[in-house]
């Protein structure tokens, strides 16, 4: 295994790092400390710059117009993109574009025409509707939203919770139970449009992440045509599961980026802040915190890159992605906490990014599969047991 970055990877990492430091960080001095949006004129200007860099639409496959970037390089970019105040949940405020939902690349031609291509052109927005009030960690059992066949249509009734972006989306992927006796083999993925009768965004769910909110959805006799089934009837869980494993790698990567930035600020501050006649950096208590930061950052970085490398090679990577998610989210929380401590009162003020990172980093141990579920996945993998 080659641990050196290639020349191309080094170039891309340097380019993104310069972009974040020169274009993104200075803008944040003027923005609300909790925002996840740029003013429209800045957003447009930066998107144009990213397109010039050849990095727009990072998660779009090359066949659909995205850049040809492997998973390791994509992970290195994610680590760089998140090194600013909003970086954990809004890396570079979305100016690198996105694919929407990767599952749509598996849609049939008719569905691609109606949903995927308009999404890639930026004309439609999409949401992902999996979690329910009954739980999100074990979707195969927790899904109680039901779809019942009625002629050429399906009629859906139920609720979803923790759904991001549904209030602004034009359509979404909605997972519903189509066979109550079959567990994970009884779930189907439907493409539903948000202006269809019976689709309701009932409320916003406020969390520690005050920049963005989740929503609670309700479906009352929501009628969906047969043509809007993504994949096959009763085979929706595989679609959901694919996303869950794949997402864990970039999810870990942005935690590392924030930890790196927090650590960098703490190192600088420790050198200039004096107490009792000496810089903080000369105190063993502070030095050890910085050493522990290094350990946490490097451990997370290598575990995440190993997972990315396995994914790039097409090898099974479920255990490695789980390890990366688990370690990076916990290590990221510890690093931000130490850096906050080193900064004293400044660390908890909105003048600095730590308090935002502290709140948002806490969510990372729960999002994309709580860390207890990651341990469960890893244990099953070690023991050679199935997930059922």
């Amino acid at each position: 295994m080659d641990l050196q970055l290639t020349e191309e990877q080094t170039m891309v990492v340097d380019m993104v790092r310069r972009f974040v430091r020169r274009e993104i960080v200075p803008l944040e001095d003027k923005l609300d400390p909790d925002t996840d949006e740029l003013p429209e004129e800045d957003h447009g200007r930066l998107v144009a710059m990213v397109k010039d860099m050849g990095l727009y639409g990072l998660d779009i496959p090359p066949d659909y117009g995205g850049p040809d970037i492997d998973m390791v390089t994509r992970t290195l970019i994610a680590i760089e993109m998140s090194q600013h105040r909003a970086g954990l949940y809004a890396p570079c405020y979305g100016v690198f574009g996105g694919a929407g939902l990767a599952q749509l690349f598996e849609a049939n031609d008719d569905q691609k025409q109606r949903y995927l291509y308009p999404t890639l052109r930026g004309e439609k927005k999409v949401f992902f509707g999996l979690s329910e009030p009954s739980g999100g960690s074990d979707p195969a059992r927790a899904i109680q939203t039901r779809a019942v066949r009625d002629g050429q249509d399906w009629v859906i009734n139920g609720q979803k919770l923790w759904i991001s972006g549904a209030d602004k989306a034009d359509y979404g992927l909605l997972f519903a139970r189509t066979d109550s006796d079959k567990g994970r083999s009884g779930i189907t993925c439907f493409i539903v449009e948000t202006d269809w009768p019976g689709f309701h965004v009932r409320r916003i769910v406020h969390t520690l992440r005050s920049a963005r909110y989740a929503t609670e959805l309700q479906f009352t006799d929501l009628r969906v045509p047969d043509a809007n089934i993504l994949g096959e009837v009763n085979k929706g869980f595989a679609i959901a599961n694919d996303r869950l494993s794949r997402q864990r790698i970039p999810y870990a990567a942005v935690c590392i980026g924030v930890a790196i930035k927090a650590h960098e600020l703490a190192v600088e501050y420790a050198k200039i802040r004096h107490t009792f006649g000496a810089p903080l950096a000369s105190r063993q208590a502070i030095q050890w915190m910085l050493v522990d930061n290094e350990i946490d950052i490097e451990t997370s970085r290598w575990l995440t890159l190993v997972a990315a490398d396995k994914a790039r090679r097409g090898d099974p990577f479920r255990k490695e992605a789980g390890l990366a998610k688990l370690v990076a989210t916990e290590a990221g929380g510890r690093v931000v906490d130490r850096c906050m401590q080193i900064h004293g009162g400044l660390g908890v003020a909105k003048d600095m990014p730590f308090e935002r990172w502290f709140r948002e980093m806490r969510i990372r141990r729960i999002g994309e599969g709580p860390n207890e579920v990651q341990r469960h996945i890893i244990a099953r993998d070690i023991l050679g047991m199935s997930l059922r």
Binding site: E37, K168, H200, R202, R203, I204, H206, S210, A211, Y213
Partner: protein, 114 residues
Amino acid sequence: MPAIRMSKRWTPFNPETVKRVPGQLGVYQLANAAGEIVYVGVAGGRSLFGLRGELQKWLAAPQAGAAQFRIEVNMSYRTRHLELLMAYRADHEGRLPAANTDIDASRLGRLSPA
């Protein structure tokens, strides 16, 4: 389940009452004398004197017949602000409060609260 709409009593909008408003972050509403909401505002992380400072700006340049106000201290001020605007829009056939010309309605989500 927390209330989506703000339901506190209105306070007369004048220098004396605004002076007693806390300097914390949060959201506020202004209404005309008839109690119709004319503005939904926010005191965010860059507000110098929080809710009090934001309301004092309005006192200096009154608009839309604002005669009453109410506040809510809230650290989730951004999402709460959006929620109040979306709830207002759902209750008023897609319109925003008269003085909320600072909001780009196309960037707001759609709520249909029960």
